[in-house]
Amino acid sequence: MSNLHVPNPAAGNPEGSVPVRIPVPAAAQVSLQADQPISAVRRYLLSRGSSSVADRIFAGIMLLCALVIFALVALIATELITQSHLSWHAFGLSFFYRFNVDPITHLPLFWDPVNGIFYALPFIYGTLITSLVALCIAVPLAIGLAIFLTEMCPRWLRSPLSFFTELLAAIPSVVYGLWAIFVLVPLLRDNINPIFIRIFQLPLLERLFGWTHLFGDNGLFGGVNLGLGLLGAGAILAIMILPIIAALTREVMSAVPNSQREAALALGATRWEMIRMAVLRNARIGIVGSIILGLGRALGETMAVAMVIGNSPEIHLSLLSMGHSMASVIANEFTEATSDMHRSALIEVGLALFLVTIIVNAFARLLVWAVTRGAPARVQ
């Protein structure tokens, strides 16, 4: 350490370049007392206040924006609760699970406005089942699409493909409904459902998995094949939520830094191993988040579902059977609800939809929390 206090000799001018010119202002020669002359920039900056008032106002306004959300939720909830109190009074909690028995057919009777019977279970069932079917179809497709777009798509195909994906999100749901009636329903009825019916009635499967009650004539694909029904509604929902999930998943995946991909590839990972190890694992929180958003849309979707679900307030295990959903029963019957009780019951269905959405969201958040907390969990 002989050359202390001396600039690195090697540093001199390694490229024979720029001599460093340092302007030494007059202030540099003045002693460091309180009354030292200061530069114009410093004087200007010192003249600026602490801005703490402005900062606090800014924070207040932001808080107000956040509180608007709470106020809206509270307003909606109170309105739904006060407007539905008539049916709540008449049926209580049994609104959500009880049913009458039809005196003639001896089948369960949930919803009969003419005779004043209002039990909401088939709507809750229909909403949850169609949303579940939609997720089962849409999630693998959307993640596959996002992986293709971010990891393996040739450049020229990338923007048209993302453009069409996003275009799907812009189509109004009533158009989806029409398309479903004229294209999707016949397609399901004539080409796709028969395949599933054949598979679910294979004697071998029935013998092996008969205990699940999902196979055979009374199973998941039993009953009359009309095309309309829970499966049709789920399929159209899947098409509607696909672009949301795909677009968000693609965003999250492209935000994964390239260094992560290189780290995996440099360890000898194949493309799929790299995607699993570096991309999907890093993006998993965002992917779950996008699925939750898609699910939210599926739960609340009204028009397209109302057009294909069949609108009969019944509960059947078979996906081929007709059903009803919470949103579609409100849309279908609200204009015809002449009795106060009918109207109040429909609003209570709305309240139930509100609650189901909250519960599903809370559950999904719990899932994210469980996946991400503590030791890094593995998403296979």
């Binding site: 202390l4 090697a10 540093a11 720029v18 920039v41």
Partner: protein, 252 residues
């Protein structure tokens, strides 16, 4: 002009981790002071306490007194004001990628509402010259993004950005650790030139760098300041055994 820094009984925490313990130290004005020590010893936390950046982390906490010039920065003044007077250069260059080189350099002034076009031009030129970057970028000041420069150039631009607000103190947190030797030596030259006008505190892993640029050196270990003395003394005749072990490469 630089001002002196006086630190008394400084303690800092990240969550439950006690990162800095009872630091006492006086940093002289218009000199360069180097802080050395193994990774995780608290030297970065220490400089971040000097402009109240430490407290921007929600789990961080700090107690004690830091006087910069005649101000107690934790009592007399808001964090915003103190950061206008204490510039900082980070380990990795962090240019604003959406801004041109020109806008990057004068961003500190612009966000404070400094609008005089001619003076801004002057300040940008002076700052870039001080940071030894002017000749390399003067032709595309407003054309190129700050992120289009090389790593070493970006770091010198970040130094120019810090200098543009004419700070009284300049904090540098391992400013050259992500750079190649040529860029590193340029930055060291720069520190050597700038210390006549600014109080510079530089954190470094590189002991030769500390020896080259600083008059005073502090050695941190496990959150404590083990020794603080003239650089010459620290590197030739340290009074603490642990300092000697560290600078002779026996650990760390």
């Amino acid at each position: 002009m630089g001002v002196a820094i006086e630190v008394k009984a400084l303690n800092a925490w990240y969550g439950a981790t006690h990162t800095l313990q009872d630091i006492e130290l006086n940093i002289p004005a218009n000199h360069a002071t180097a802080l050395i020590g193994p990774s995780g010893c608290g030297k970065s936390t220490f400089v971040r306490c000097l402009n109240r950046m430490h407290e921007t982390n929600p789990i961080a906490r700090v107690t004690g007194t830091v006087r910069i010039g005649d101000l107690d920065i934790y009592n007399d003044i808001s964090p915003v004001e103190i950061r206008r007077r204490v510039g900082m250069v980070f380990q990795r260059p962090n240019p604003f990628p959406t801004m041109s080189i020109y806008d990057n350099v004068c961003s500190g002034l612009k966000l404070n509402g400094y609008r005089n076009r001619r003076e801004l031009d002057e300040i940008v030129e002076r700052s870039l010259r001080s940071a030894a970057l002017w000749d390399e970028v003067k032709d595309d000041l407003k054309k190129k993004s700050g992120a289009s420069l090389s790593g070493g150039q970006q770091q010198r631009m970040c130094i120019a950005r810090a200098l543009a607000v004419d700070p009284e103190v300049l904090l540098m947190d391992e400013p050259a650790s992500a750079l190649d030797p040529v860029s590193t030596s340029k930055i060291e030259d720069l520190i050597f030139q700038l210390k006549s006008q600014y109080t510079i505190v530089i954190v470094t892993h590189n002991m030769q760098q500390a020896a080259r640029v600083a008059e005073k050196t502090g050695f941190f270990l496990n959150g404590r300041l083990v020794e603080f003395d003239s650089t010459h003394k620290i590197f030739t005749n340290p009074s603490d055994k642990r300092t000697e072990d560290y600078i002779t490469g026996r650990f760390g």
